[in-house]
């Protein structure tokens, strides 16, 4: 155990329900911490770092979260989740590769470098399929393609996007499933609970109007979610699972800066997510 108490911080440019709840939980546990705003953060190469020694990364922007974590780690700071974990979980292809490396079930996926290669990959995967941006959240720009004509049109639009990264195309089979998926929250290698996320459209993102409902957490779901969180190296994660029509579970994604408002409302007093995160952060500071 360290003889010097860790200097804790919560990194966030936008204080939402989640960040406010975590800060409140840290205070209730008597932990001293600071709010670190990445918009005013810089880490200078070669200078002695005098800031926090343990940082919870709750930055809403992926790239700012990733580079802030990397810069802080270069100064000797421990960041949760680590920069490596944010790198893997923030990019859909890297997540898929990490899941496959661990032998975990995930939908059939292809990465294509050109429009032509993407169309060939889609012929192989079959329709309907889904085209997703490598980086992004809340279901943004995730597009379901039902046949080659639709795929060709969507890929023409993708090719017109300005970012070179957008031209690397991530494709996935659309797994036939019920009108819901499962979100399992994992903190420190333990699954806290699960919710069903149900929506009227095929994308079951809460940001798109899907509703979170309490789901009793079974050992199979818990084990798979913990394994998925571990595969991408996350201490704290929201793991999305889908169940196909035969009941087989597959991992869709791992979210490293997980939003949990809907999860918390669905669980009521069964679990306190913010407190679990605060407890984990404090415990990490004591090891």
């Amino acid at each position: 155990m360290n003889s010097v108490a860790p200097h804790l911080a919560v990194l966030a440019s936008r204080v939402r329900f989640e960040e406010k709840s975590i800060m409140g939980a840290l205070e209730r546990r008597g932990a001293r911490f600071e709010h670190l705003d990445p918009r005013s953060l810089f880490v200078a190469d070669g200078s002695a770092w005098t800031g926090p020694t343990l940082v919870l990364n709750r930055e809403v922007g992926h790239f700012r979260a990733l580079y802030a974590a990397s810069a802080l780690e270069s100064a000797g700071v421990t960041v949760l989740n680590s920069a490596a974990a944010t790198h893997l979980s923030g990019d859909k292809w890297h997540t898929s590769a990490a899941l496959l490396n661990r032998g975990l079930p995930t939908p059939r996926t292809a990465l294509a470098m050109t429009t032509e290669a993407a169309l060939e990959a889609l012929d192989d995967i079959g329709y309907p399929a889904v085209i997703k941006p490598l980086v992004g959240s809340w279901g943004r720009l995730v597009t379901r393609v039902t046949d080659r004509a639709v795929a060709t049109a969507v890929l023409e639009h993708v090719a017109a996007l300005p970012s070179p990264q957008s031209h690397v195309i991530y494709l996935q089979e659309q797994v036939p499933k019920a009108d819901r998926d499962l979100r399992v929250l994992v903190v420190g290698g333990e699954a806290l609970g699960a919710t069903y996320r149900k929506g009227e459209e095929w994308r079951t993102n809460v940001a798109r109007g899907a509703v979170s409902e309490y789901c009793p957490l079974g050992p199979v779901h818990a084990k798979l979610a913990v394994a998925a969180a571990e595969a991408v190296g996350t201490d704290i994660a929201g793991v999305d699972l889908i169940e196909d029509m035969d009941g087989h579970l597959t991992v869709l994604e791992v979210n490293d800066r997980v939003e949990f408002r809907g999860f918390q409302e669905a669980h009521g007093s069964r679990v306190d997510v913010a407190d679990a995160i605060a407890a984990h952060l404090i415990a990490r500071g004591e090891t």
């Binding site: 936008r14 204080v15 960040e19 406010k20 992926h62 959240s137 809340w138 939003e259």
Partner: protein, 60 residues
């Protein structure tokens, strides 16, 4: 919850904005008059700025 009686002005429409007593810096509030998203720039004294627009890589 404790309320601030004389809240800061909305930088967009100048309406008075009520913020909670337990508000934190960088928290987002909405102006009930013009519906602008506002960021709490400081708590003591309470001041507001327009919240940043959502960016393409925002999320979880």
């Amino acid at each position: 919850m404790q309320k601030v009686v004389n809240g800061p002005e909305c930088p967009e429409c100048a309406a008075e904005v009520t913020i909670d007593g337990d508000a934190r810096v960088s928290e987002i509030v909405e102006c009930v008059d013009c519906r602008s998203e506002l960021e709490i720039a400081s708590v003591q004294p309470p001041t507001l700025t327009l919240a940043p627009d959502v960016e393409e890589d925002w999320g979880e």
